[in-house]
Symmetry: C2
């Protein structure tokens, strides 16, 4: 029997709050036991990744309380209910099935008259068949030429995740001879976005993927229209250059403009859709269906770990709990995501949506106001770039920002250079190492301007390289972390009512149904 309780009603909540400031990183990491701690505070993830939390403000006592909280909040049971098809998205009254797109974790889930796992597998296969036809030249453009380029038209979850995943694997695919088509993305309703992308590609050899679950997203339909005009101006037929990813009930279905239509459904939230057809179509076309399948394998393996009840075997759950401790006990308002890999350039932007849109809520899953803070602000850029940018504030600013480092032993292109006796990749890893310790331990200096207070906590996820499997595991880790934090905070992590009011008011402005401030601002723009 699952009870959905607010965090502050759990028996160990006050105990957790009382442990604020109880661990000093300078004590536990600067002493002789540091190496033991670093070795011990490490949890295996899937695909050879590890989650290390030695530089977090935790010790046996804190971890004990977090383990208690995980049981009191029934985290494992709630995840089980979710993947077995309980209507966990309470606001929209929907099941939450993104994990099912990459594996069967529990019972068969039936909906819309089908077994949903079979449905997702079939879609994946349909996409694979389509991609194979494109790659083999069985499906060609109106002039009989092979397609060389794919371009996704989508926004939010239909853009950020797939884009981050594409960028993460682009150089890997080139180095491993699985690069099939180059991908581009059009998202912003700013017409300069679409105009600029269209000017950079050969439209006659491009397949555009329109991605909209509802088939009614205004930005996406606007950009589709922009693209269709461009296809026609290029002397091409729209129906030779567009496919759609949408739901079976969408108004897009049956439109002869699309060569093919691949389905997603209401049980896949946009920000959780990278492993569904939303990511599947573009990644399968760009890198081949096999690469996409490996990506799903990595995610599925990570999902299995998320089933563990023991927090020390469940990296996503542990990461989530430490995050709750940092947010609610230590009272830190933000978290930075710092991947030391250029391939993960846009991964922070994806996590920013994933986390902030899921857990940026002020009411619980039943609509009751909460008495504690929920999701933090998430931001980040790849290192070492960030080091030369906002790290100053992270090291010496007045607020403490917890950090999530991500790093790899090897780079993707295998091209490197030795300067001062080390490769660039070694320098990259040396920098991560240095930063973790600098943030945690700080350094006193007679010149206070050169002093570092330390006590800035970080965790590290590291592995061999960014490849389809590690990327899938990484993605699933964060999806599951966000889900567990949502369970802890007792919010619905799967809706986004906060985006509705802006949409509604924008329509009011466009139809001139306004007064007061709305009218005043609209007049600035001559609307």
């Amino acid at each position: 029997m699952i009870t959905w309780s607010n965090l502050d009603t759990l028996p160990s909540y006050k105990k957790m709050l009382s442990l604020k400031g109880s661990v000093k990183l300078a004590d536990v990491l600067a002493g002789p036991d540091a190496q033991d701690r670093v070795a011990k505070y490490s949890v295996p993830m899937a695909a050879g990744l590890k989650y290390n939390y030695a530089a977090k403000h935790v010790n046996e006592q804190v971890l004990g309380v977090l383990a208690d909280l995980s049981k009191e909040a029934q985290l494992a049971e709630k995840f089980e209910a979710l993947y077995n098809g309980e209507v966990v998205n309470t606001g929209e009254k929907r099941m939450v099935l993104h994990q099912l797109t990459r594996g069967q974790l529990g019972k068969d889930v039936l909906a819309d008259g089908t077994n949903k796992r079979d449905f997702y597998v079939k879609i994946q296969k349909d996409i694979a068949d389509f991609a194979d036809k494109v790659h083999s030249g069985k499906l060609v453009n109106e002039k009989g030429e092979k397609y060389t380029t794919v371009c996704q038209i989508g926004i939010g979850g239909s853009d950020l995740g797939p884009r981050a995943m594409y960028l993460a694997l682009e150089n890997w695919a080139k180095a491993n001879d699985t690069f099939k088509m180059s991908a581009n993305f059009i998202s912003n309703v700013d017409p300069d976005d679409a105009a600029s992308v269209l000017a950079s590609i050969d439209i006659s050899k491009t397949i555009f993927i329109l991605v909209s679950k509802s088939g009614t997203t205004l930005e996406t339909l606007t950009n589709e229209s922009f693209v269709k005009d461009a296809i026609k101006k290029a002397g091409c037929e729209v129906s030779k250059h567009m496919i759609a990813v949408t739901s079976e009930t969408s108004p897009l279905v049956g439109n002869p403009d699309y060569m093919a239509c691949f389905f997603m459904d209401d049980f896949i939230g946009g920000r959780y859709s990278s492993t569904s057809a939303v990511g599947g179509a573009i990644l399968s076309l760009a890198f081949g269906p096999k690469v996409f399948a490996e990506f799903l394998e990595g995610a599925a393996a990570e999902d299995k770990l998320a089933q563990e009840k023991d927090i020390f075997k469940n990296p996503a759950m542990l990461d989530a709990l430490i995050g709750v401790f940092e947010r609610n006990a230590e009272e830190y308002p933000a978290t930075a995501i710092l991947p030391y890999s250029q391939a993960l350039n846009r991964f922070p932007a994806h996590l920013q949506q994933l986390d902030m849109e899921s857990n940026g809520k002020s009411v619980n899953r039943d609509g009751a106001p909460l008495n504690y803070v929920t999701g933090p602000v998430i931001f980040g850029e790849p290192g070492t770039n960030g080091q030369h940018s906002f790290y100053q504030l992270l090291h010496q600013g007045t607020d403490i920002v917890p950090l999530q480092f991500i790093a790899f032993k090897e780079n993707q292109t295998k091209k490197d250079v030795v300067i001062e006796d080390s490769t660039s990749q070694k320098k990259l890893c040396a920098n991560v190492t240095a930063q973790i310790v600098a943030f945690a331990c700080g350094k006193k200096d007679d010149n206070p301007n050169k002093s570092f207070a330390g006590e800035r906590p970080s965790s590290l996820i590291y592995g061999d390289s960014v490849n389809p499997k590690t990327l899938g595991a990484l993605l699933a880790h964060f999806e599951n972390k966000v889900m567990f934090q949502g369970f802890m905070w007792n919010v619905n992590s799967f809706d986004q009512e906060g985006v509705q009011l802006g949409k509604k008011l924008a329509k009011a402005v466009l139809s001139k149904q306004y007064d007061g401030a709305l009218k005043a601002y609209a007049e600035f723009f001559g609307l």
Copy 2:
């Protein structure tokens, strides 16, 4: 006589704190006087831009206290001292002269045996002459072909600002026939960054710009070496493909590998260097010297406004003061930058460095610890993309994040499409309008999950379009805002000692001079 005092010693500081929560946006913006307020709370900027703060938590009383604080902190006098050459960068004992790169605001500033304004003008002219030779074909590659591409090698301030400015003007230049060369950027020490850029360009027709003030930045020199190898492998001569931007005392000077060397100096901080040779070389090569000169004109005009003592005529000062009120009285920990223009895609990343590296400090300019918070976390993505990402938390999260909207009446490419009776650009502006009001006024709903508490403050900078002049003005506005906030908090906004410890420890790791935690983490990576 200027007194450098901590914020909490100013006579009006406590008064400011007492005004926390004194203004309700729902009252002042929802009522019949909303239109007056929106019209009144607006300050002209340069190049036709306007700064509107009607949706901020201010009223006549708050603004009165902020005006008092501006006088007590002697903001105008401190700026005057700065541009007249006082050693305002106390930690590094340097003058701060970035405003001088774009105009003479006060007395002649003499240093290094020269009039610094003359020096900057000469560098700008040298760059213009070089760019003209490249564009006209007087200077060509070893095969006698024209150069088509320029590639900046730099990190931090040598990358973020110039990159953001290039992206901001790329489509504008193409639409206005001033696009001369396409530009690329290599920054990350991750070798995949350089490898990926090099694979995408024709090296034989590329001019690489090595940018490093000291000439010793490890990332940049590593990437230079990577690039030199690639130039040689492409069968080209390094000395036909590289120029440098560095200081006159740098070890790079006189190196025959560079076709030309353009100087910057110690009085230009990296993050303030977009209007110096650091931005000048790449922007002049990409768009022509005339465009760069217009960009400087816009910045210079904005700097002039920053001289005003009256906060209602000085948008940067007013913006700074409102930010201090939000940070120290309202206690908001972060600020989001939301440009509704795809051209400003990376402008938030630049401001993130500019702001967080400048004011993320815990000691005052004399090294004494501070008893109040300083610089906030800065993050952002362009709208409407952000609306489909992290806006959920901004609207309905438990923390309030002040917002900076930036928007324009016209797009750059002039290409647009009409859907549902409006252009994309109109939709973009309607969205900004809607968001400002939605954030400020919120909306009650019987379903608490669909309720919006409102009271989320924002300001708006708006103008006709992103072009060289408005971009220069926008850049200078934020540079000056950050400077004024630094004056208020009494920190040194022009050094970055917080980046040093990490550098030092990274060197220790690479030379295996480590133990304890440093060794333990290094072993993860086989270092």
